[in-house]
Amino acid sequence: MNYTFKWSVLWTGESGRWLLQGLLTTLELSALAWVLAVALGILAGALRTVRFTPLRWAATSYVEFFRNVPLLVWMFFWYFGVPPLLPRGIQDWLFNHGAEFWAGMLALGVYHGARISEVIRSGIQSIPRTQFEASVAMGLTTFQSYRLIILPVALRLIVPPATNESLNLLKNSSVALTISVAELTFQTRQIETYTARAIEALTAGTLIYLVLCLSIATIMAKVERRYAIPGLIARVGPAA
């Protein structure tokens, strides 16, 4: 292979700014989607363990349908499928205010919410039922025993699989390039288009993702040790 590298394309011209913008968009998209996913995940994960059947059934159908369909399909669904159903005014407003970003955020958040709920459910179910019974016997309501007893313990148990899932979310945010959200992979492709330097551009993008993922994993390993419940060796298995 006689390919002459020209790494300078990464810091001459617009490339540097594009990469930085892409990184910021990736972080912003992932952070917002993560908040949505965690909220949905806690809600659905907790609801799947309650006694009341309709609630449990609704949560189960949400989880089973959304996590078993490719994220890319959800991207197209939220970006192309949903807006035409909205009133004209809202549509116009959306397309003037970065509809692709919000569609990507919804797709990522709702999809990963279903996956995170599985992590949370396995965390809740790893707590002995007697803990719940004891807290009810102490006079707490169901909601109180979830909020004060079960969730605080479950949340500490699930740090490793939840980290894993959050990193999946970060990496999956690259799928948003298909609906032209200008995130990191999109910008990498843009540099490649403008400079015709595929290897250099892809290396830059890949390294940024690697550094991001490895540093988050390192930080979370510290968090895991810090909040580990003393005396427990049991780990919650990785989510399905």
Partner: protein, 222 residues
């Protein structure tokens, strides 16, 4: 709601998109099945290499796994798309690019499952096999791997479902799978809601039947 767009394009979506019979080289199943098989086989080697005593085998395998688990699949697909034509000096069809990318990427994930599966086999089994005079390779092939495989079934199926869904990303480089077929139909008919919900249901039926099958398999293995 008007679903005639589905009935009139049903054949194209299912035959061309899902199975791969039609004017284009495509098909979700035609990509997913070999990708799962080859990815798993390569994953066995990666997983065993990560457990090797010799550091010059273990270290590259560890780096391989850490690298691919830290990078989005979309990125890997673009890498293969640009690199292979450069290396081989000949154009590679989308099918080859997508299959290569999936096998390389998923082998890292399958490797981790194989490693965990092997580590779940009690050490005494290896010692007993050695005491019976079996060589290392024989111990691995006849004693450890069969038991490990049984423990791996749930995570393996989960990963296969993930890989099945991931094949939708091949549509980014123009491979005509179910997702691309839906895009083609939508460009002509402009009925995005119906079309994308329909393929979501098709994907769901495939992945859900995989997980039902897995549950039955687990019950039999237990």
């Amino acid at each position: 709601m008007d679903v005639s767009v589905i009935t009139s394009n049903f054949k194209f979506l299912i035959l061309q998109g899902l199975i791969g019979i039609g004017p284009f080289i495509g098909g979700t199943l035609r990509l997913a099945i070999p990708a799962i098989l080859f990815g798993f086989v390569l994953g066995i080697f990666v997983g065993l290499a990560r457990l090797a005593q010799a550091p010059w085998i273990r270290m590259p395998a560890t780096m391989y796994v850490e690298f691919f688990r830290g990078v989005p699949l979309v990125m890997v697909i673009f890498w293969i798309w640009f690199i292979i034509p450069q290396l081989l000096r000949l154009p590679i069809p989308e099918y080859g690019v997508a299959l290569t990318a999936f096998v390389i990427f998923e082998a890292a994930y399958f490797g981790e499952i194989v490693r965990a599966g092997v580590q779940s086999v009690p050490r005494g089994q290896v010692e007993a096999a050695t005491a019976l005079g079996m060589t290392g390779t024989k111990t691995m092939a006849y004693v450890v791997l069969p038991q490990a495989l049984k423990n791996m079934v749930p995570s393996l199926v989960t990963q296969m479902i993930v890989l099945f869904k991931d094949t939708s990303l091949a549509s980014i480089i123009g491979y005509v799978d179910l997702t691309k077929a839906a895009q083609i139909v939508n460009n002509r008919e402009i009925k995005p809601f119906q079309i994308y919900i329909f393929i979501a249901i098709v994907y769901w039926l495939c992945t859900y039947s995989m997980s039902v099958f897995a549950r039955r398999l687990e019950r039999r293995a237990a």
